[in-house]
Symmetry: C2
Subunit: 220 residues, 2 copies
DNA sequence: GTCTATAGTGGGATAGAC
DNA sequence: GTCTATCCCACTATAGAC
């Protein structure tokens, strides 16, 4: 049915539409509370038709979770690679994390919220990817500690990493695409809080977080 | 059956045991994925018996959410009232938030995760309480801004509040009671990150977060 | 690739005896 | 206050025609 002249929305394959709509429902209502009937109705197809595209309900969750993590690992790795100074790498990682996460809230929120609904092999796969991402961030903080750029009085990099992921991940629950701040602006605020804190004397005017503009191949 | 000589665990009424077990299951498996059959089995009673104590499944979620929010509002308000300096009040609030939240993970995680499953009047009640708590924190940051103790270059108190709640709330997903840090220690780390940031020169040794020990009526 | 029809299971909740 | 028995409904998934 699709031709070269269709616009992007129309060109989206049915399989991709199923995944996208599932993500939207999973984020809004939760995985377990979402029924295959609702999903079929939202896509205006028969329930049975869904099973032509997917193996089952859990497959949807699995695919979305893997996509989410692969995407954020790729984007954050790319952002880090463009910087050499450890603190600049950290700031770039924070911005990339926020940008990627908020660019597809449905998918990333589903991964963050519904991981526990996965079972067996599928759960293992996703947890392994999630741990790999966490290691990426941990290494970044360890690098800063090694070079004396990050405070060492708060202990090892472990809780610095968990604190950072706290600060970043929960954003997905209150971000509104039509709200007053862009993901870019939110990323800068959170990066500045994380690096310099909120007290008035903590961030001299020379230390701002917006200096290194990202170089991204796409999106002019 | 209960007498004055029963110990605390045994004195817990059946109604309270139902709520506590529901909270445990809701946190572990999610509200929607938890069945009344499982709950009955975990308590070793018949399914029908549950309905002698509760109005229905959603009632459980409602009661847990209200308890969670009332508890944290009470505890944090009390902690704030003991301090006069805005930054000390902020630190006390952070510690109290973390302590209360981690002292009953089941209840608080359920409230944070499953609010969307509530409907109608019950949803309104809980959202109203949640907003009241958020206002409490906002006022604290506004106070710091007014007195010039908090950075004003990050915008209004709105995103400072959301950032702080990010930093605090997500902790409930990775905290382990048998882990290496106590809630008190985690609260101190997060308070220090939030106030002073993680960069090496951001926190002079004179600015530590542990100075004002809390005065709590209970627990010697 | 989409449908009708339905299998098979398990969900929340209630009636009413004890 | 706890039980047995059961209602009614919604769930995921499949068979098989078109």
């Amino acid at each position: 049915m699709a031709t070269k002249h269709d616009d992007v929305a129309a060109r989206t394959s049915t399989g991709e539409r199923v995944l996208a709509e599932a993500a939207r429902l999973f984020r809004t209502k939760g995985y377990s509370a979402t029924t295959m009937r609702e999903l079929a109705a939202a896509l205006d197809v028969n329930k049975a038709t869904l099973y032509h595209y997917i193996g089952g309900k859990e497959d949807l969750l699995y695919k979305l979770s893997i996509e989410s993590l692969e995407r954020i690992i790729t984007d954050v790795s790319r952002a880090i690679a463009l910087q050499s100074d450890p603190l600049s790498r950290l700031v770039s990682a924070i911005k990339a994390h926020i940008n990627t996460m908020l660019a597809d809230r449905d998918k990333h929120a589903t991964m963050l919220n519904e991981l526990r609904a996965l079972t067996g092999e599928r759960a293992n796969d996703v947890i392994e990817l999630r741990d790999r991402y966490e290691s990426l961030i941990r290494a970044l903080l360890q690098e800063g500690l090694d070079r004396g750029l990050i405070r060492s009085d708060l202990g090892s990099e472990k809780y610095l990493t968990l604190g950072l992921l706290n600060l970043l991940n929960w954003t997905i629950f209150w971000f509104e695409p039509e709200g007053e701040l862009t993901p870019q602006e939110i990323g800068e605020i959170l990066a500045s809080i994380y690096l310099f804190g909120v007290t008035a004397d903590a961030a001299p005017a020379s230390q701002r977080v917006g200096e290194a503009e990202e170089v991204d191949g796409r999106r002019g």
